[in-house]
């Protein structure tokens, strides 16, 4: 027996391994990507790449699979050159730290260009010290190669002013020459580099990044709020993103926005509004090609109405400042007539919104835009033109500063350091390059920072050491939520099981004993109807009858963090649905089994011996008749799990099934794998239980 169980457990592990590989490969092959799913389709390619990198998703798939299976910490240790360790804080958070030579825990973060060491004290507090001595030039010849490439890019860069370009090129050439030479030591290299790097430093405006972010936020906030501009953005998105990658909710929100734009334009251009309405209709119908064609038609007119402010906003978002300046200048140029062709109220609104947005961070540009908006409102086109021209000049200046700082930053030699960051990742920090890292900070949106990490290895122990990783969707450990969800599902299934088993076995026995009579007919046809009806249909009927028409019990479940048994009324309908589905199935099997047993010769013998009916049924028949149903039910667990998923979705019950469904829709790999492993373990364990139970019920079988 022990050997048999052991072999089955080994088989289970093998199945889990195969399933995990299969799930991984299929998820890998699936279209769509988790960054878009988690962050929405409005993220820029840079933000997407940055997100993927931070989650370690830019690595080849076998590396990611191995990280998930056996962990990444041992690999990270080699990179960092220090052991790393996972601790659990007093608040229950799991944190990764590096262990310093003296045994203290240490991890790092960046403040500006400074590396800050966070040392954890025995009492749990953290002291911060500047730790810039750890920076190293990793590989001078590689740096030289990169810089040579960069030099070529700068020479072509059309966003840079000529004077700035020359200055940067001069310093770059010097640095390349220094890197090319042999240096006796790292200190000597640092000393030689200090002069040209100081020159580059002088060209950097410390506020450049803030200004850049402000302009980009201006684009997304003002552009995102204005429904007419949004229509142009939708046009762009529809032509850029393949229709298959758009989710239903994306398309629905697009249609909603187009309807909004149509409303806004009803006054200015009724025909255009009609066309937009029609596009929204096509989107609702899922006819993307028709929607795109209509948008293609209306785009030029939309552009005209908004005075090309759409182009302006795109250009800002794409950091193409030259084009943004050109767009603004065109609006201010009397010979173009752009201002006259546009819907001036709309433009005034937009300009005012932009001015308002820029008030704090770029006051001068903001003021000119607000001025232009005021002029337009007082129908003074001439002054408005002047204000717009002034705004264009201010933007030009700001843009030069931003671009110069950015490019100068990129020309410095990168210093690197591998360490553990405060986000539980092993990261390679890089100082001195223009590498921009985008982080989604809850509440304040996307924040860009320069000099962030260039490479990430998310630290995890791996499944074999009991760590299923972090959910990509929530950023929380999969294990936390997974087991709470599993508990909820087990509560649901358990209650249903306790109700179903005695009831179904009893009814099945009754039907089997009365084979062919009315009671058997009613029970078996009724049972069949419930067992073949899809779970969601049964669920909907129960909601309609008991929650809608009779209004007896709640038709949905809301639990939040609470345990399901704290609101038992909400459990009634989900349990009833599961019960009905399982009842029919078990009943039918019990009935068939009972009917078969009653035809056996030993039962006939018992009758002929003159034993009382009651005794024959309970002593001889029942035990043999129950053998089949009990094992079949155990094998039925796979099916039951499917039923639970559907029931959970119908009632919004926070169980394992809905968790896996949501994760699948998000392509949240770690969560899907974690859930799949639990499901396989449950399925295989119940099958094992069925086999063991069978040996107790039927002593003729021996497992060896």
């Amino acid at each position: 027996m022990a050997k048999f169980i052991l072999r089955r457990l080994l088989l289970m592990l093998l199945t889990m391994l195969l399933v995990s590989i299969a799930v991984f490969l299929i998820t890998e092959a699936a279209p769509g990507n988790v960054a878009r799913n988690v962050l929405g389709i409005h993220i820029t390619p840079e933000q997407e790449a940055s997100f993927l990198k931070q989650q370690g998703l830019d690595k080849p798939f076998y590396v990611r699979y191995l990280n998930w299976l056996i962990g990444s910490d041992w690999r990270a240790e080699r990179r960092i050159g220090m052991p790393v360790k996972q601790i659990t804080t007093e608040d229950g958070f799991r944190e990764w730290w590096a262990v310093d030579a003296d045994g203290s825990l240490i991890r790092w973060d960046m403040e500006g260009e400074d590396l800050i060491a966070n040392r954890r004290q025995p009492d749990g507090s953290v002291t911060k010290t500047v730790d810039n001595d750890r920076w190293r030039v990793e590989d001078p010849s590689r740096e030289m190669e990169l810089l040579t490439q960069y030099r070529a890019e700068i020479a072509q860069d059309d966003q840079l002013d000529d004077a700035d370009r020359e200055a940067i090129l001069r310093e770059t050439d010097q640095i390349i020459a220094i890197l090319d030479r042999e240096h006796p030591s790292e200190e000597a290299l640092e000393a030689a580099l200090s002069e040209p790097e100081a020159a580059l430093e002088a060209m950097i405006d410390p506020d450049a990044l803030r200004k850049q972010t402000t302009l980009q936020q201006l684009a997304s906030r003002v552009g995102g709020k204005n429904r007419v501009l949004q229509a142009l953005v939708i046009h762009q998105q529809l032509s850029d993103i393949p229709a298959a990658q758009l989710g239903r909710s994306d398309i629905e929100s697009m249609a909603r926005q187009l309807r909004g734009a149509a409303q806004d334009l009803q006054e200015a251009d009724p025909r255009l509004a009609d066309q937009l309405e029609q596009t929204a209709q096509s989107l609702d119908d899922g006819d993307m090609a028709a929607a795109l064609a209509t948008l293609e038609d209306v785009a030029p007119r939309l552009d005209e109405l908004t005075g090309s402010l759409g182009t302006f906003i795109y250009a800002l978002e794409a950091e193409d400042y030259r084009q943004a300046v050109v767009a603004l200048r065109r609006l201010s140029d009397p010979s173009q007539g752009t201002l006259e062709a546009a819907d001036q109220t709309l433009i005034a609104d937009l300009l005012a919104a932009m001015g308002n947005q820029l008030e704090d961070d770029l006051p001068e540009l903001g003021e000119s835009l607000t001025q232009a908006a005021d002029d337009l409102q007082s129908e003074d086109a001439e002054t408005a033109r002047q204000s717009l021209a002034a705004a264009a000049n201010r933007l030009d200046e700001t843009a030069s500063t931003i671009v110069r700082s950015q490019r100068a930053q990129g020309a410095r030699v990168a210093r690197t350091f591998w360490g553990v960051d405060t986000g539980n990742r092993a990261v390679k920090w890089q100082k001195g390059t223009g590498e921009v890292v985008w982080r989604l900070v809850p509440g304040s949106g996307w924040l860009a920072s320069i000099g962030g990490p260039a490479e990430y290895v998310p630290l995890q122990k791996g499944l074999v050491r009991g760590d299923p990783g972090l959910s990509l969707r929530t950023g929380r450990p999969v294990a936390d939520l997974l087991f709470r969800r599993l508990r909820n599902s087990l509560v649901l299934a358990g209650i249903a099981f306790v109700i179903v088993m005695p009831l179904a076995l009893l009814l099945g026995l009754i039907a089997g004993l009365n084979q062919g009579k009315t009671i058997d007919r009613v029970l078996s046809v009724g049972g069949m109807m419930f067992s073949v009806t899809p779970q969601f249909v049964t669920g909907i009927f129960l909601i309609l009858i008991f929650a809608f028409w009779l209004d007896l019990v709640p038709g949905a479940t809301v639990f939040g963090e609470k345990a399901p048994w704290e609101r038992p009324r909400m459990l009634i309908l989900p349990v009833a649905t599961l019960t009905l589905i399982e009842l029919g199935y078990v009943l039918r099997i019990t009935r068939a089994s009972m009917a078969e047993v009653m035809r056996e010769p030993y039962i006939r013998t018992a009758f002929l011996k003159g034993l009382p009916y009651r005794r024959i049924v309970f002593k001889h028949a029942v035990r043999n008749a129950l053998m089949a149903p009990i094992t079949v039910i155990m094998l039925h667990v796979n099916w039951l799990l499917g039923g639970i998923v559907v029931v959970e979705v119908i009632f919004g019950y926070p169980g394992l099934g809905s968790y896996i469904l949501d994760s699948t829709l998000f392509k949240d790999f770690n969560a899907i794998e974690g859930g799949a492993m639990v499901l396989v373990a449950v399925a295989v364990t119940t099958q094992l239980l069925a086999d063991i139970l069978y040996t107790f019920l039927n002593p003729r079988i021996r497992f060896t």
């Binding site: 199945t15 299929i26 899809p534 969601f536 929650a547 038709g555 499917g642 899907i672």
Partner: protein, 308 residues
């Protein structure tokens, strides 16, 4: 077939084909349950085929002045949240299930999505089962271990992952149904093959020097058709069940296709706000069709065993 009958004297004693068909039909009418089931199935096939004649609307026609309406003379079963006629969507939905398979927007295959799923599953499953059962050895071992692993996989998870991987469309629903159905069919065919391969006519074919593929598909498969057909009938019911569930979970046919499962999923949001019709009718439709199929299969098998 002549050769088969000589080796099986029992069948030669049976009446001719037409008489056997008549016997079958009369058995069917003996069972009230089977007749009820058949009537339900025929009803859905009828409305599916003649759908355009039975309604003045199209399934995607929206009426913003009539959203979430109760049944009325204009809309016999009411309207959904976009003002579409529910009756129209139901009968066009029946088409997709029973009569046509929309491969692309313009290219439609005859036979419904559910039927294609079962047929494809039969094709793959039978081939695997025949190979495992007839060729034996390592082929059998590999096929069976593969199928075991697939069966250890919870069905719904398998559906979700397959659809997530290939995207939601009618063709992919067919694929998912086929993949999930394959292990069961393969097991059945394998066990039948193990039995049939010992028969004399298989021996004879082997002696004649026929290739293994000829023996598998011409000698063994036709002789195993009885149980396979009964199994397939039940599987059609299950395929419709699966289509509904996939649609309900948001993994079925993409909108605005009239898909029963997704109609329920969409209508569900409006039940507690007082318009149950959009969720009720597709539920009734899918429930009745699946129950009808099972009543039919059940009644038939019960009556035929009684006559044996």
């Amino acid at each position: 077939m002549a050769g088969t009958e000589q080796t099986m004297p029992k069948t030669s004693a049976q009446p001719s084909g037409l008489a056997r068909l008549w016997e079958g039909i009369s058995i069917l009418f003996e069972s009230k349950i089977a007749v009820v089931g058949l009537l339900i199935i025929l009803f859905w096939i009828f409305v599916a085929i003649f759908a355009p004649l039975l309604t003045p609307y199209t399934p995607t026609e929206q009426d913003y002045t009539a959203q979430n309406e109760a049944p009325s003379a204009r809309h016999p079963l009411g309207t959904d949240s976009l003002g579409r006629d529910i009756w129209t969507r139901l009968i066009y939905g029946a088409r997709v299930v029973l009569v046509v398979l929309p491969v692309t927007e313009t290219f439609w295959l005859p036979l419904g999505t559910a039927l294609w799923g079962v047929l494809l599953g039969l094709l793959v499953g039978s081939t695997l089962g025949l190979m495992g059962g007839y060729l034996g050895g390592w082929v059998d071992e590999v096929v069976m271990r593969l199928l075991d692993a697939m069966m250890a996989f919870p069905v719904v998870l398998l559906y979700m992952i397959i659809i997530a991987a290939v995207g939601a469309s009618a063709t992919n629903v067919v694929l998912a149904i086929a993949i999930v159905g394959t292990p069961g069919i393969a097991r059945l065919v394998r066990s039948l093959t193990l039995d049939i391969r010992t028969r004399d006519y298989v021996r004879a074919a082997e002696v004649r020097g026929e290739s293994p593929w000829y023996i598998m598909f011409v000698e063994i498969l036709p002789n195993a058709r009885g149980p396979i057909i009964v199994d397939a009938m039940l599987r059609v019911g299950y395929a419709i069940f699966a289509m509904g569930t996939l649609g309900f979970l948001g993994l079925g046919l993409p909108p605005p296709s009239p898909d029963w499962g997704s109609m329920v999923a969409k209508g569900r949001q409006y039940i507690l706000s007082g318009s149950p019709w959009a969720a009720l009718w597709p539920s009734v439709a899918i429930g009745s069709l699946v129950v009808g199929l099972n009543l039919f299969a059940d009644g038939l098998s019960e009556e035929s065993t009684r006559y044996q």
